[in-house]
Amino acid sequence: MNPLTRFLKKLLILLCGGRFGSELQEEMAFHRAQAEEELVSSGMTPEAAHYAAMRQFGNETKLMEQSHEEVTFRVETVVQDLRFALRQWRRNLGFALTAVLILALGMGVSVAIFGFVDAALLEPLPYANPDRLMSVNESNIEEPRWPLSYLDYLDWQRLNKSFSSLDVYGGAGYLLRTPSGAEPVEGARVSGSFFQTLGVRPVLGRDFNPGEDRPGGPNVVILSYGAWLHHFGGRRDAVGQTVDLDHDAYTIIGVLPRAFAFAPSGNAEFWVPINSLSHHEQMRTFYNFWGIGRLRDAVTMKAALAEMAAIATQLQRQYGVTGRNLTASVVPLTEIIVGDVRPILLTLLGGAGLLLLIACVNVASLVLVRSESRRREIAVRCALGATRARLVRLFASEGLLFALFGNLAGLIFAGVIMQFLGRLVPKDMASNMPFLGYVGLNAHTGAFAVAVGLLAAALLAVTPMVRLSFQKVRDELASGDRGATGPLWRRLGANMAVVELAVAVVLLAGAGLLGQSFYRLLHVPLGFDPNHLATVRVMAPGTIYHSDEQTAGLYREIVGRVSSLPGVQSAGMTSLLPVQCNCNIDAIQIPGRPSHDEHNEVVERHVSTGYLPTLKANLVRGRLFTEAEDASRPGVTVINQALARKYFTGEDPIGQRIADNEGGHPSEWEIVGVVEDVHEGPLDVDTWPAEYFPINQTRDHYFSLAVRTGQDAGILLPVLVNTLHQIDPNLGVSDEQTMNEQIEGTQAALLHRFSAWLVGGFALMALVLGVVGLYGVIAYSVSQRTREIGVRMALGAQRSSVYKLVMRQAGWLTLAGLAIGLVCSVGAALSIRSLLFGVQAWDAVTLGCVAVLLGLASMAASFLPARRAALVNPTDALRAE
C-alpha cells in the first residue's frame, strides 16, 4: 500500500513537474523574505540582511536539486534494472518466451471478448439519446412482448402522455422487379415518424412527410444505404426514380445513412410507410406491428408502463376484446437488441477472465520458481550491499517487462481473435447484431488492455516481493546450497497450483455443461426427419396469382414438377418451416364450449397435402388432407398431439371442430387427423399446440417448399431454384438451404454452439496451463528434494515408496484444486443458468467427468517427475553436493 501510494505520488509529481518546482521556489523565496525581515527589524541594514538570509538559507540551486532527488525515480537505476532484466531474458530465452506467450494468450482472449462486450453492451445504440428509446408493446402471460394491432397503436398514440412520439414497424417482403427477373427483397413498413423517433435522418433525399403514412398515401420508399449501392450503384439521381415492388411503382424519396441499422427489422432494405392496410390489419385483434417510443424527459419507464397498461386494459374493455388478457410492456430498446446475447457475452467474458487469471498465476509461479533458483544470486547481492528495496525493484522491473511484452503481443493477438470471431457469426445473424461493426481495437478496448496489463504487472511484480519480504535473505547465503525448499515457496507455489487447477475445473465444468446443453438442443425430438430435406422459400406475386384456381394451379405445378426431378421422393409446401419460430398464432375456440378469458393461442400452419408425409411426421389418428379439399369445400384441419392433449383431454378429437375468427371471417374447421408434435418453434422452447390447414383453403403467396430426396439434399438446391424459375420467372426464390442447415442456423443453435465452442476452447487452454502449472510445482519440488530422496533410498526406501512420496504431494494438490473448483463451478454454473438447456447446474455426470479428466491429467503430469525421483541414484544424489 505504502510503496504504491509513494509510487503514485512520484508519478503525479513527474507528470506536473513544473508545478512542483515553482511551488518549491515560491516557498523558499518566502522563507528568505521572512528571515530578511526579521534581521532588518533586529537592526541590520537591508543589504546586509539580504546576504545574511541568503547565507543562512544555503545554496538554493543545490537544495532544489536535493528536493527533486527526493521525489523522482532514480532513472539510472531503473534503466539498469530493465537492462538487467533483458539480460536475464537473453540468458533464458525459452523461459521468457513461454511467459510472454502465456500472458499474451490470456490477455489477448480477454481483450478480444471485452471488445465484443463493449460493442454490444457498453456502447450506446447509434440513435439520438438512445436511453430514452423504449420498445412499447402489448403483453400477455405467455409472451411478455406481444405485437400491437394497428388500431390499438393509433389509440395508444392518441391517448398516451408518456411518449413524445410513438411509432410502429413491421416486416415485409417484396418482389423487386429487376432486368434479370424478380428478386425477393426484405423491407419494413413503418409509421411516418419512425426515423424521427430514432433520431435518424436520410443522408440523401428526405424523410417521410406528415400524412404519407395515412391510408391512401403515396407509394414512397426510403432505401437502406446497402440497397442504394447494390441496386442503384450509389447514384445520387436514384432519388426521385421509381422501383417496382410487388408490381407497384414506388418513388424513392431518400437514402438512409451507411451506419444505420435497426436490428429488429433484420436487414430490411426498402422502408415504406404504413399507408395501405390489408383486410386483416384493419382488425383490432390482428396483432402485427411492433412499437417503439421516445420517453418524455420527466417520465420514468415505470410511469410509462403504468400508463400504457391502463390504456391497454381500457381499450380491451371498450372494444370487448376477449380471449386475451393484454396489458402493456415498456422495456428499453437496448434490451430488445442485445438482450439475447448479453448472458452469452457475460459468460464468455467471465471465461476469458478466468483464463487470464490462470495465465497470470502460471507466469507468476514461473517467476517464483526462477526467483527460487536465484536465491544464491540474491544472497550475494545482499551481501554486496543491495538493499531490500533495490532487490524488490529488480524483480518488479522484470515483472513489468513481462507484462509489457505480454500486453503488446496480447493486443495483436486480440485483434486477430476479434476478426476471426466476427467472421464466425453468420450473415443472417450478423444483421441482427449491428454492434458487430463496432468491435475492434478502440479507446475502450485499449483502456481495458492497459488495465489488464497493469493488473498483470502488479501481480508479477508483487509475487517476488512477497517472497523476498518473508525470507531472511542472509540465512540463505549461509545455507547456500540447493537444499531444502523454503516453507514459503512450498506454500505459495502449491497454493498457486491449487488456484490454477480450481480455475481449470470451473472452466471445464462450464464447457461441459454448455457442450451438453448444445448436444441436448440438437437432439430435441423434432417429430420429423430433418435429413435429406431441401428447403426453399417462394414468393408468388399476388398480382399474377390472384384467383383460387391460379394459386392452386401454381401449387400443383410446383409439386408436380419438383416431384418428377431425379432422386426426389416427395415435396410439400408450408407457410412456415419448422424449428423457426412460434409465430403465426391463431386464437381458437371450441364451438359449443363456453369461452372464458382463457389463453387459447395455437401455432397455425398452412400446408399442402404432401407436406406432412414429406417431413415424415407421424400420423397418430385419422387422416391427412386430400387434394380435393380446396376452398370450395368445408374447412378441415390436422392438429398436433399437444393441441389434442390441451383441448381434448380424454376425448377423441377426430370429428370435433375448432373455430377461429381471423380477419373478421369466423370459420370452423373439422379435425380430420392428429400428428405427432412437429417442433415448429425454436429448439429451446417447448412445443406449442399447432393446427395445420390445407394450403388450398388458405391461399398463401408466401410459402416454403420442403423436398425429400434420396441423395444429398445440398446437391438438389440449385436444381430446385432452376425448376422454380422455369415454372415462372416472376416467382421470388430465396433462402435455399437444407433442413439441417436451417436448424443449425437458428439463433438458439448458433448461440449455444458459439458459447459451447468458445468456453470449450478456454477450458482446454486452462486445462493445459493448469496441468503444466502442477507439473512445474511437482518437478521443481522433486529437483529440490533430490538429496533428501537420495538419503531415503540409501537408508533402504523402495522405489515404490519414492513414487508414493511424490504422487501423494501431487494428489493432495489435485484434490484441493478439484474440491475448490467443483464448489465454485456449481456457483458459476448457476450464474449461467439461462444458457443451460436440459441440464442442471449441478449435473453430476459433467462434474464427475471433469473430476476424472483433471485427475488423470494431473496424475500424468506428476508421474514424470515422480519417475525421475524414483530413478535417482542414491550415490550420485549424495555426491552431488
Binding site: R6, F30, N59, E60, Q66, E70
Partner: protein, 112 residues
C-alpha cells in the same frame, strides 16, 4: 566564528515531525521553532529543511496546504498526519535507545 554542532544524521526528520505536533507551520516557522526550542544550539542550514519536507510528504507523514499568513502572504503550511504521528513515536523511541546506548558507551569508557 564558533562552529555550532552538526545535527546527528537522521535527526532532522524527527525534529520536523516533533515541531509539527502542536500546530501546522510553514518552513520558516519550523526553522524558527527548532532554533528557539533548542536555545539556538541546534541550527540547521535552513534550506535543508525543504528536501527533508519533500521526503516526509512523499511518505505521507506530513501534508501540505497553501494558506495566507498573518502578514497576508501565501505560504505552504505543513501539518502532521496520523501516519506521521505514529512515525514520530517510532523515531523518538529509536532516538532514546541510541542516546542511551551512546551514554552507556561513554560512561564505561570513563570507568576503564
Amino acid at each position: 566564528m564558533s562552529k555550532k554542532p552538526d545535527l546527528l544524521p537522521g535527526t532532522l526528520d524527527l525534529l520536523i515531525l516533533k515541531t509539527l505536533t502542536r500546530t501546522p507551520l510553514h518552513g520558516y516557522g519550523i526553522a524558527l521553532s527548532i532554533k528557539r526550542l533548542s536555545d539556538d544550539v541546534l541550527t540547521v542550514e535552513e534550506g535543508s529543511l525543504y528536501p527533508a519536507l519533500q521526503r516526509l510528504l512523499l511518505r505521507s507523514w506530513v501534508k501540505a496546504e497553501w494558506k495566507i499568513t498573518e502578514t497576508n502572504r501565501r505560504a505552504r503550511f505543513y501539518s502532521l498526519t496520523a501516519a506521521g504521528r505514529k512515525q514520530l513515536g517510532i523515531e523518538e523511541s529509536q532516538f532514546e535507545q541510541m542516546i542511551a546506548a551512546i551514554r552507556r558507551v561513554l560512561r564505561s569508557a570513563q570507568e576503564v
